[in-house]
């Protein structure tokens, strides 16, 4: 067993400059040729540990032993030299370059001083044949699908001679079918002698593919085990430290008046792709409408148009009986009674250098009691901030803490605290639980259900099909800018059914869909 060990990370500590302790004395042992799952909630420290292994971050303390020798991985360049490759959660690709250029970047074949581009295409062709992962080498990366991008990423690490491949939550953006393809490819790779570390927080995937697991929690390693010796329940206990009641109980929907009406919505992206092709649907009081779809099929545009961030090309939107103007104005939408939990909290949901309280009042600072005659009443603002911290269980010592000092889950709670206390009739929740720990996610899902019980409407866009099936009352599926399916009875379907529609394998007729 011991001589089979390819990697050992010993007593790793990582303290970030902002004081956040991501890794506390973590240990990890990986055997050659296995698929080793690194399991843990977001914020448990598994991504940081892998960043250290790949040389992106430097450990504060600790040592790494790779193939029997102690190594100092000071940069990704070093890691690649040792034969360590990593496929990141957010793809590390240059959109305006071609697939081939992305793959050969840093190891360009040369003819004289220039890049030998023909040689590059040949090389990419050879390699993708070798590993059975075909890619369109002359296309620009910005034009290819998510699954394809991931393939490019894997080839990128393989052509650099990676023997140990780290995959950081690779299935998060994939459809079930694409996930199956990926798993097959991974098994194929281990047969060729490659070792794989697989980061995830999805228990079913671990069961399906991994040989061994290491579970992490709050920056510490809880334990390592063979997958066949451990049940999902045990795993989840190790992950969370307590039993989690995964199912959310809820009453059947009592839908009332139409809150939001979308009519024949169209949008064309700057690259000329028509990403919304005449979408119509409505949201009623007291229901959660789920929107499913593979990323890039129009969900982002849909949400951004409804919330007034980008202008629509055609179509009409009514919020609470108010017609939305053509110009972009998120403020108008808010005034019309719309709340919005954005998909990327750091991009749009918070201001990182501002305090928690400042973030929570961003949509209501003009109103009493937060300001009067244009002068902000900071006492009221911070008082309210403290209230929200209590109500939404934000883990921090004060409302004066800057957002950047919080963990992802707590940041999302700040966003949610603002959006759920805005007293809006409609809430658009775009990937509301992405990348946060299970407890926080659970909390947010329950709040969404509570909104619905208060006779408000929620539009839930999520890539997490389990979440959709659990929380939504109705689900529509978007494929290439069109609604291809509508499920009125969510309880009767499962992930696989949804996946078929999401990939465009099946499509409902308008009669089947019924009244949207």
């Amino acid at each position: 067993m011991a001589d089979n060990c390819i990697l050992e990370m010993k007593n790793i500590w990582k303290i970030y400059p902002n004081g956040v302790v991501a890794n506390k004395d973590m240990n990890l042992k990986v055997n050659k040729g296995e698929i080793h799952a690194l399991l843990g909630e977001n914020g448990a420290g598994k991504s940081t540990l892998m960043k250290i292994l790949f040389g992106i971050e430097q450990p504060t303390k600790g040592e790494i032993i790779y193939e029997g020798r102690q190594v100092d991985i000071s940069s990704p360049h070093k890691a690649i030299e040792y034969g360590i490759g990593m496929v990141h959660q957010h793809f590390m690709l240059v959109p305006s370059l071609t697939v081939a250029e992305n793959i050969i970047l840093g190891m360009e074949p040369k003819k004289g001083l220039s890049i030998d581009i023909d040689q590059a295409y040949r090389f990419v062709q050879e390699q993708s044949d070798l590993f059975g992962l075909p890619v369109p080498s002359k296309e620009k990366v910005k034009d290819i699908s998510v699954g394809m991008k991931q393939r490019v990423e894997i080839i990128k690490t393989l052509v650099r001679g990676a023997n140990l491949i780290i995959l950081d939550e690779p299935t998060a953006v994939l459809t079930p079918q694409e996930t199956v393809d990926l798993f097959n490819a991974l098994k194929n790779l281990t047969e060729k002698g490659k070792t794989i570390i697989f980061i995830t927080h999805k228990l079913n995937e671990v069961k399906e593919i991994a040989d061994r697991i290491t579970v992490t929690r709050r920056g510490r390693v809880v334990g390592t085990a063979d997958v066949k010796d451990i049940s999902e329940i045990e795993m989840s206990k190790m992950m969370v430290g307590r039993d989690v009641d995964i199912r959310i109980e809820k009453e059947p929907a009592q839908s009332g008046e139409k809150l939001m009406e979308i009519n024949d919505l169209e949008f064309t992206r700057t690259d000329g792709v028509k990403s919304l092709k005449g979408i119509s649907f409505s949201l009623r009081e007291g229901e959660i409408l789920g929107v499913a779809g593979v990323e890039g099929n129009g969900q982002t545009e849909l949400v951004q148009i409804i919330t007034g961030i980008i202008p629509r090309e055609k179509g009409r939107i009514k919020l609470n009986q108010v017609e939305l103007p053509k110009i972009t104005d998120p403020g108008f939408c808010r005034d019309a009674g719309l709340s919005h939990i954005p998909s990327d909290r750091m991009e749009r949901g918070v201001a990182a250098d501002s305090t928690i309280a400042e973030n929570i009042i961003s949509d209501r600072f003009k109103k009493v009691p937060f300001s009067k005659n244009g002068v902000i009443k900071w006492k009221e603002v911070y008082g309210f901030g403290e209230e929200m911290i209590k109500e939404f269980d934000i883990r921090t010592d004060s409302a004066r803490t800057e957002i950047k000092m919080l963990s992802g889950g707590n940041i999302q709670k700040v966003v949610v605290a603002r959006e759920f206390t805005a007293h809006s009739k409609i809430t658009i929740a775009d990937q509301p639980t992405r990348g946060i720990d299970v407890a926080a996610a659970d909390f947010i899902r329950r709040r969404l259900v509570k909104e619905r019980e208060n006779n408000l409407g929620v539009l839930l866009v999520s890539a997490d099909l389990t979440e959709l099936l659990e929380v939504a009352d109705r689900i529509i599926v978007l494929f290439k800018g069109e609604i291809v399916a509508h499920f009125k009875e969510v309880k009767q379907i499962n992930e696989t059914v949804l996946g078929e529609y999401m990939l465009g394998i099946k499509r409902m007729s308008s009669e089947e869909m019924g009244d949207l």
Binding site: N18, G43, R334, P342, S362, V375, I376, W378, G435
Partner: protein, 386 residues
Amino acid sequence: MKADKRFTLYRIGISVGIALLIGYIIVFIASVPSTDIAFMKKMKEAFDSANEAYKYFLTGALVRWRFTGAAFNQSGFIQWINEAVPIIITGLAVSMVFTAKQFNIGAEGQMFLGAAVATAVAIYFPGIPFISTLLVILTAMAVGAGFASIPGFMKAKLKASEMVTSLMLNYVAFFMGLFIIKTFLRDTEAGSLVSLEFQQQTMLPLLNERYRWHIGIFIALGMTVLVWFIMKKTTWGYKVKLIGDNIKFAEYSGINSSKMVFQVQVAAGAVAGSAGIIELLGYHGRFLWLYSPGYGWDGIIIATLARNNPLFVPLAALFLSYIRVGAKIMGRYTNIAPEIVAILQAVIILLVTAEAFLAKWKQRSINKEATQSETNDTPVQVGEVR
């Protein structure tokens, strides 16, 4: 985090120290005599004259060194305060746009053109004490605001880089200002291109007649409090901070970012517009700049040193003007050119803004704090780091 603020202070202190040390070394090298004498003697002489130069540099603004001994240097002190006035104002203006993360560096042009146009009012409007002074300053502010609206508009509506446009406009403002003075306001009796003299009653009251200590410093401090209030206590200031912190978030929260970008640039332009005319009203009594005096650029240094906090702006400006006055006094009494102060300024800016400078030291202390609290087993936030 406490460590954060503490290390910012350390960093500023150490940066200033390093800058002064580098300056000393340069002065020392410049002081080595070229005569053919023994090495040790040369070193001794250089050491003596470098010390002499630094004595003037560090204390000259406050102390007058005579053969008979030291005395308070009233003129140096007043020059120090007077010179801080325009750069406090431009520092405030720059800190406003920087808070909104707008790289508008047009304060120089706004200040110059504002002063040139307001000169007309100062010459021709009947000299009513206080009222006409106020009117002159308001005119300069209006001109500064108007001129700032060009890059503001281009950024807000056309998304043209405000840095390039505001820079180009500095040149335009300079030439327009000179043109206005030359064509309409020129004193034809004068042997140089200067405006007619201002109305006597329009001039700022003096605290000290002899050395022309004018009340500009109080105007500047008043503006500091005003800008501080606006930026920290009003909804408008909150909006400015928000668009600076994360403009997409501000838009998402319902703030009209284009409007705010435009407004903050115009508001800062108004502040900057008054910087030049206040000095003219207090000190010179007419428009006499043939070269742009560079106060807008100084504003950038000061806003940086003050970390865009209006309350720190006067401190930074007083610091800058202190070392400048010191350097000039040094230049008068020794052979060291006062331009050495530019080298010090550059070193200070580079080090003060270097986030990673002393970071290892800081990290060590943070690590210590963090591991300590870990071993004490108090709960510590576990963070996802972006």
